[in-house]
């Protein structure tokens, strides 16, 4: 993950608690292994559990302590070190020291409990101690790796949930929502019939937005219908300033496309292309087959790319476009692409290229609404 986290995803106390039962299991397995190699079962199990639990304690403390110490002493170099898992390489000395300390602590307490004497109760030679140390290292590394990945996974899930929320927020943009409601309120007084039509578009738009998160694909005709709803709302607001052209060939209507993929592109074209212009302009949405590629285009005759910003901070890096790129990459990898370029006749052209689907997933197309 590129995003450095300054806060540990979970605290060390919780980490200790979560690791408790896996530690007992792992220690028992190591004990069984030694037993199988000929060590006395009860004694082996006691030492294994003791050393295992101390390993867990020391290594967890090290995982959280090392980044804390490094960040305090060399803030310039280690400011972004992840607390809870500093990376596998810095973890090696932590592991080695943790296992050594755990071995010393475990055998000392084990000796006291069993009335035996270290270094190794069942061999009595230094080589035995070394063997135990090395063998303790392996489950320690495996365990550390396992816990670290689980922590990562939890962080990733949180991020995914946040992205989902932001997606919903961007689709139900409050500015758009309240402006639409204000128009609706105005229309009710002067033209109730048109107000009803507007409300119907809004209902469809809201329903589509709220269900889109649960539905990964829908037919191209449904995609265009949702855009039509949105554009109808915008046309009531912008009046003559927004002209719309929708071009969906009938033979493409049933093709499956990622749900509401084009929505951010249309919003972008209005927000950055047409809304800043007093005279407004035309927005065109079209679909074409090009060999084994499905080309979806959203173009506007608006302000164009560079007029809004000559500085290197492009408005095109906004969340909406990032989201389109991310979705394409996740779904199709290199086989899909997205581009944003000046349109030949002025304005901006956004194009999504999707691989031609093997078979239409929606053989019974919904009729596209006018």
């Amino acid at each position: 993950m590129s995003k450095p986290s300054h806060q540990p995803s979970i605290g060390w106390r919780l980490q200790l608690w979560r690791g408790f039962w896996p530690t007992q299991t792992l220690s028992a397995i190591v004990g069984l292994l030694f037993w199988a190699m000929g060590s006395p079962p009860v004694i082996t199990m006691v030492y294994s559990l003791l050393i295992g639990n101390f390993c867990h304690l020391f290594i967890t403390l090290g995982r959280y302590g090392l980044p804390m110490v490094l960040r305090r002493w060399w803030p310039s170099r280690f400011a972004h070190m992840d607390q809870g898992f500093p990376g596998m390489l810095p973890m090696l000395p932590v592991l080695a020291l943790g296992v050594l300390l755990a071995y010393l602590a475990g055998t000392t307490i084990g000796d006291a409990l069993m009335g035996l004497s270290s270094p190794m109760p069942w061999h009595g030679s230094n080589r035995g101690a070394l063997t135990v140390l090395v063998i303790s290292m392996l489950p320690a590394i495996a365990g550390t790796y396992y816990f670290a990945s689980r922590t990562r996974l939890a962080a990733l899930e949180t991020q995914a949930a946040e992205a989902q929320l932001r997606l919903l927020e961007s689709q139900l943009e409050p500015h758009m929502l309240f402006n639409t409601l204000a128009n609706l309120r105005a229309l009710i007084g002067v033209d109730p019939a048109r107000a009803q039509v507007m409300l119907d578009h809004m209902i469809d738009y809201l329903r589509a937005t709220l269900t889109a998160s649960r539905q990964s694909h829908h037919p191209l005709s449904a995609e265009f219908s949702r855009l039509t709803d949105y554009l109808a709302l915008m046309q009531i607001r912008m009046g003559e300033r927004l002209q719309v052209q929708i071009d969906l060939p009938a033979d493409l209507a049933a093709l499956p496309v990622p749900a509401l993929l084009l929505q951010p592109l249309v919003e972008n074209a209005i927000k950055h292309g047409l809304e800043p212009l007093r005279r407004g302009g035309t927005l065109t949405v079209s679909a074409r087959r090009d060999g084994q590629t499905l080309r979806l285009q959203v173009s506007d005759s608006g302000a164009g790319l560079d007029s809004s910003s000559a500085a290197p901070a492009p408005t095109g890096s906004g969340f909406g476009l990032t989201q389109v790129r991310e979705r394409l990459r996740t779904l199709h990898g290199e086989r899909a692409s997205f581009s944003l370029a000046p349109a030949p006749q002025g304005g901006t052209l956004a194009e999504v290229r999707l691989p031609w689907p093997a078979a239409p997933a929606f053989p019974d197309p919904l009729p596209a609404r006018p």
């Binding site: 309240f178 105005a186 009046g239 809304e275 000559a310």
Partner: protein, 278 residues
């Protein structure tokens, strides 16, 4: 007392008409002078017709409502009291915080009759204060100073009302890259004395010469250190260290003399308060 006059600036026709109707209901004596459809038209009409009240939508084509307010206030003639400004917005989370802090009134879309009524009553009270018979100048000065302060703090909330979301604070500019023909001049920001807006460009003035860069002052501002570069007009940002003297004339207008340049820079009334003795 002559009827109170107002101007509405709103780019969405239906909303402009609705606000007009609701205003008529809430304040029948109010005379609407014009409906402007974008920020530039609002400034033009306001300066030509000089209404007492301005209802400005924040997001409009051309200038935003806030930029329009700034331009109106800066170019407003000295002999008339400044108009009272009410901002209208559907949802601007940054603006709302600023509005709460300031006494400037604002309306949320959809505009609700009860809220509009309260707003009108407030405006009526403020107008009544303007017309206090004793010492009208003093009362006006106080009201004006309050309005200027409010507008300044609103404008300071950056990216306000602009279509881009105010996300991360911009990185500070170190070098201005100005192209002249095929050559790109690397001008250290430390050498820049002032920036001046010129149509779609910004003039970059150093002690020796000047350059043109294709950007807007609005985009440039967040990239400048606010401590070092002071805005003195909607079109001018000057390096504080480059200023030698601030001259105030009888009418309270302020001009700046620079250390390394002969020209004088006018300071708008919005920012004149910044040049006072310590």
């Amino acid at each position: 007392m002559s009827p109170v006059t107002a101007l509405i600036a709103e780019d969405e026709t239906l909303l402009a008409q609705a606000l007009q109707m609701e205003l008529q209901r809430a304040w029948p004596e109010l005379t609407l002078l014009a409906l402007a459809q974008d920020g530039d038209e609002a400034v033009e009409q306001a300066l030509a017709l000089r209404p007492q009240l301005l209802f400005l939508d924040i997001r409009m084509p051309g200038r935003t409502g806030l930029e329009a307010a700034q331009a109106v206030v800066e170019d407003w003639p000295e002999d008339t009291p400044l108009p009272l400004i009410v901002f209208v917005t559907a949802y601007d989370q940054y603006a709302l915080q600023a509005f709460e802090a300031c006494a400037v009134d604002y309306l949320l879309k959809p505009v609700q009759p009860a809220r509009l009524k309260a707003c009108c009553e407030r405006l009526q009270a403020l107008l009544a204060q303007q017309h206090l018979p004793d010492d009208p100048h003093k009362a006006n000065d106080g009201a004006n100073e309050a309005l200027l302060g409010q507008l300044r703090s609103l404008l300071a909330t950056r990216a306000l009302g602009s279509t881009e979301a105010a996300t991360a604070p911009a990185e500070k500019l170190v070098v201005v890259q100005a192209s002249v023909g095929n050559v790109v001049h690397m001008v250290p920001v430390d050498e820049v004395l002032y920036f001046e807006a010129a149509d779609k460009y910004v003039r970059v003035i150093t002690a020796e010469r000047e350059y043109l860069i294709r950007t807007s002052l609005r985009e440039l501002l967040p990239q400048l250190e606010a401590q070092q570069f002071w805005q003195i007009h909607r079109g001018t940002v000057v390096r504080a260290r480059a200023v030698a003297q601030a001259l105030r004339d009888d009418q309270g207008r302020v001009q700046l003399l620079l250390r390394d340049r002969p020209e004088k820079l006018p300071v708008s009334r919005l920012y004149a308060g910044r040049f006072k003795g310590m």
